[in-house]
Symmetry: C2
């Protein structure tokens, strides 16, 4: 076995994007590829294999074997194959034991990582795909509460080397849906730059306790603020952004995820991380920004455990 | 003055609909007209006068004077003219003192009723247009807590002959926006009939206290319920309906609007009233269904006070 002839291809394959990275056996990055070929685009024509093949064609060389790994929504019911969720609490080894393989072409297989499921204290069992891999990339060796902002924002707890529990908030999707399709669409105007004061006012409105109402009661304030002349049309988007992110924190606080002086680890896009940092501070929490390549690191770590070598 | 020659035209002119009623001086209904000529349709071409004119043409007779009154969003910033809000607490006389007149044609004026504003305890002052008129139609003589379900659902308190306070919840708009434009749109399938069990499960999920999360944390359950096989694709819409209406009640409870054994008065479309009745019962409250013609009754009462005669 010539280990130096083995390269790894790590694919972070989500709903709206695909990120593939070529690494050598030491984990050094050789090349990368990024596109909008997420499963939303690829699934309708079942074009998973040709999409991946197209990327691999550039990376094949004589004498080099490619090992292929993917994480994210590619393993969901709407993805290539449905990979069962691993039940929490779980460590990286348990996640690695949950991988499934699918044939890309004769003799070539892709290993798809599982998502994670939390059966405790939810209306129905809560699920994630991709975030558990990012958490492994952050490292499970140190106890932490991590936030992974996004369309379906996740708060996760790392304890004793395992991911122990998590909670999904619909923050990103709610914001996007309201901005584009609610009364907000007809009154809000784009601003040249982020309206920091409006964002902060949204956070403040959310931070008041449940006696002052939750999201149902407060969303209309994006209209009443404008009607009363206290918000400009160019303020409304950032006010709403602060309101929904702040409401995520307000609910997390009521659910026991957040205590004063707590340090939260943020994993996500820099712009989102910045918004969440401001929100955390408004709720009296400190923030540590996690690695931006957590998905790659996590997939690599789980891939190695799944191979059982290296 | 020949009072018998005076007819009243009462217009309930909202965002998406127009309802006009012709009454004689005794308040007997002579004719009615209903269309989708709401201000959303009429405002872009400023076609308020011709739209009303078209209705009046059918109702004009020699020797009869028409007095014209309208309530609802027609008096909003996006309507015909902006009629200032009357500050709460207010009784019917104070609402009548807030009317404004606009010329329909030479010598013919339309009297537009004001909305109401509540400056207390909100992020920004809360506003309504049309619901205050429906509350007058219900009657302000008896203390009551009334719910007016809809796109922007209102809870209002009647005390000592006045409307004292109210609270808007974005329930209807949130439901419609999520059904059409969120992940729900891609997984939900229409059901042949209302899925009562799914609706009840949505109510139950919402009724758990703030420690189990609010709307931000619970909306994703419409997906996890389906993923876990506990909700059918045909259940998702009614589950979501129960969840958002239940969340309205859960927030109202935290805000002090709802105590166990309370009797709530419902004013609204029969299908909505039925949903809200089930929600109220799930929260331990009794329900009285208000008159379906509350808007007409209220506008008539305020019109008479504004005329100062009859």
């Amino acid at each position: 076995m010539a280990a130096q002839n083995k390269h790894l291809v790590i694919v972070d394959w989500g709903t709206t994007s695909l990120r593939a990275t070529l690494l050598d056996s030491d984990g050094e990055i050789l090349d990368s590829y990024e596109s909008s070929e997420g499963i939303a685009v690829v699934a309708p024509t079942n074009a998973f294999a040709p999409t991946l093949q197209h990327i691999l064609d550039k990376w094949r060389e004589p004498g080099v074997v490619l090992s292929l790994y993917a994480s994210g929504m590619i393993g969901s019911r709407n993805g290539w194959i449905e990979v069962p969720y691993v039940t929490l609490p779980a460590d990286a080894k348990q996640l690695a034991a949950g991988v499934r393989r699918v044939e890309v072409s004769p003799g070539v297989t892709l290993t798809i990582l599982p998502g994670a499921i939390d059966n405790a204290k939810h209306v129905f069992p809560d699920v994630m795909r991709g975030e558990e891999t990012q958490l492994v990339g952050l490292g499970l060796d140190k106890d932490a509460t991590a936030i992974l902002p996004g369309t379906h924002s996740k708060w996760a707890r790392i304890e004793g080397g395992k991911i122990t529990k998590f909670q999904t908030f619909l923050t990103g999707e709610l914001y996007g849906t309201l901005i584009d399709h609610s009364f907000v669409a007809s009154i809000a105007k784009p601003a040249a730059a982020r309206q920091d004061r409006a964002f902060a006012r949204g956070l403040e409105a959310a931070a008041r306790g449940p006696h002052s109402g939750g999201v149902m009661a407060k969303l209309f304030s994006a209209r009443t603020g404008w009607l009363s002349g206290q918000l400009e049309a160019t303020d409304i988007r950032d006010y709403l952004s602060g309101l929904v992110i702040g409401s995520e924190f307000a609910e997390a606080r009521e659910m026991g995820w957040l205590s004063k002086g707590e340090t939260l680890t943020l994993i996500g896009r820099p712009d989102l991380a910045q918004n969440y940092k401001l929100a955390a501070e408004a709720f009296g929490a400190q923030v540590v920004i996690g690695p931006t390549d957590a998905a790659l690191r996590g997939c690599l770590a789980i891939a190695r455990l799944a191979q059982g070598v290296d």
